[in-house]
């Protein structure tokens, strides 16, 4: 799957979980940039992304993400390893 496609699908998950249709994320988006993105929502986002792409992140991966770009790279790496 292209990175672009992954980003689009992740964006849709953000909109659904954070219940805000106006959210637009890109590779540089950080938690601080999105008002609703708090630690509780973060857990929901991770679970929703894992479920959607049928992948499992490791605890270390999740800790090391700096922005949405890192998150999408994790997804991409796992999908191409399948």
């Amino acid at each position: 799957m292209e990175k672009e496609q992954i980003m689009q699908q992740v964006n849709a998950i953000f909109i659904d979980v954070l219940e805000n249709p106006d959210i637009h994320i890109d590779a540089n988006t950080k938690a601080d940039d999105v008002a609703e993105w708090d630690s509780l929502h973060h857990i929901q986002l991770v679970v929703a992304i894992e479920k959607h792409f049928k992948v499992k992140f490791t605890t270390r991966e999740i800790l090391n993400w700096r922005n949405v770009g890192d998150l999408c790279s994790s997804v991409s790496a796992k999908l191409s390893a399948k």
């Binding site: 659904d16 979980v17 219940e19 630690s39 509780l40 857990i43 929901q44 991770v46 679970v47 929703a48 992140f57 605890t59 999740i62 800790l63």
Partner: protein, 597 residues
Amino acid sequence: MDIHNLDFNHLKKNLNNAPQGYPGPGATKIALLSDTASQFIVQALQGYAIEFGAAYELFEANYNQIDSQVFDPSSELYRFEPEFVVIVRSTERLLDAFYKEPSRLKPSFAEEQTAHILSLYETIKRKLKSRVIITNFPEIDDGVFGNYANKTPYSFLFQLRKLNVSLMEMARAQPDCLVCDVATLVHRLGYASAFDPKMYINASMVFSLELLPWLAKSIHELIQATKGHFKKALILDLDNTIWGGTIGDDGVEGIQIGELGLGKIFTGIQKWVKELVRRGILLAICSKNDEEVARALFVEHPDMILRMEDIAIFVANWENKVNNIRYIQEVLNIGFDAMVYLDDSTFEREMVTKAIPEITAPSLPEDPAQWLIYLRELNLFETTSFTEEDKNRNAQYHDAAKRVAVQRTFENEDEFLQSLKMSSEVHPFDSFSIPRIAQLSQRSNQFNLRTVRYSEAEVSDIAANPQYLTLSFTLKDTYGDNGLIAFVVLKQEKEGLFIENWIMSCRVLKRGMEKFMLQCLTEAALSGGQTRLIGEYLPTNKNGLVKDHYHKLGFIPNADGRWTLELKGATTGISATPVPDAALGSPSYAAVHIQKK
């Protein structure tokens, strides 16, 4: 919506779609104390309540504050004064505590934990009237002893299982202690799906998002059952629901039950239903069939598990099921929301639920082999009590059916009532009647003047309190023993004896019980030197039946909405002029033909 389609995100979204003013002043107050992070549990429970039209006002204690909230008499918990305290403890924390214990103390770990939980319960009960819901512990084996864990009290698994059993024993002994069986929920889902180590490491949460709706459902259903909302009857279709095939196509010999075809599946379902009947669930049959043929099958087929004596009401004809279920409702005299309807046909189910939305009609999976697993998971028959009377509840309705048949042959109601040779035992509340009284207060919706629900502990308190006068009533007739069917709770107030509660089972309507009860009340009041009875009717959407109750008994309305009956000089108290039916819009009470025992 079916629990199987309710995910956590949906429940959470409900929080933003709550009705205006939610939870509102009438909401049930619940305090949640947890030894792990509980934000998601609270959100799931709120979302679940909103989904099903309940309203909860929740107090969430800070993280890991169970002991400090309970043992500090000035804590937020006690200021909040909840109706329910929910204590959520996790196996993961329990394991930490177990590891801290020196080896020599490990064999008594479960005992110590039980004593601790009991002291939590007792401390809460000393200050609050709350029911206390305690979660039990999902089983994990820490792999330290292998299978030998089952052979040594030094293993975590040994102590964990012992603790779960001790919790059940504790709940059995403590009337207001309820166990929420998280262990079963986790077991159904599988530990790998129910526990997400990432969530535990990063956020100290022990329940996965997948488990949370099930946990919310379980807590919600315990609370609702305590408040009197639970299922009382099961309505069954026949063909392809409790046996394979149809009588019409396959003949009585060809239906699949027992060893024939898929019979094992349906035998399993019948056995399950039979256990429900033994527990006190009323069973109704509603089938498109020829009545005689269908009935004969229950009598003659050697492989049938369910028999005629298990069934309270049998309806088989060619009319539509909506009308038949309405008829069943009239005979059983319970709300549609207390009924479960099982039918293999999606068409029939949809027709019924469209016409009667309050009824629960599970969407059975396509493969009947899955039904039983599916039905168990739905937890349709939550309850908060089980008494001797539950064991022959269906038989009591048989007696009712016989009575209705005989009634038709008498010239008038009076003659019929005399023929019943009714007798009633009248006693103040005692240890024998207390559990039944608590149960009746929770089950009765229609003949219930003020809809005050009592727990067993509350009934015991009332029985022991000299401020109260209590009377319970049984009713026996030539057709059978109805057991304990009514009670009154009278509270001494400045103006007179206030009838705090007057409850009667709808099985004994039109029998003259109302006037008989008033006679007994009057005698008891006068012998205690009281000369005035004060009644009150608090309307709900279910107790319209008794809106004229005090009027019919000759009470005089007060300006404050209450009713008064002066007993001065009277010995019967019911010498007031009978109120004609026409003035009431509903029939007046039958005359008394009941002998006091």
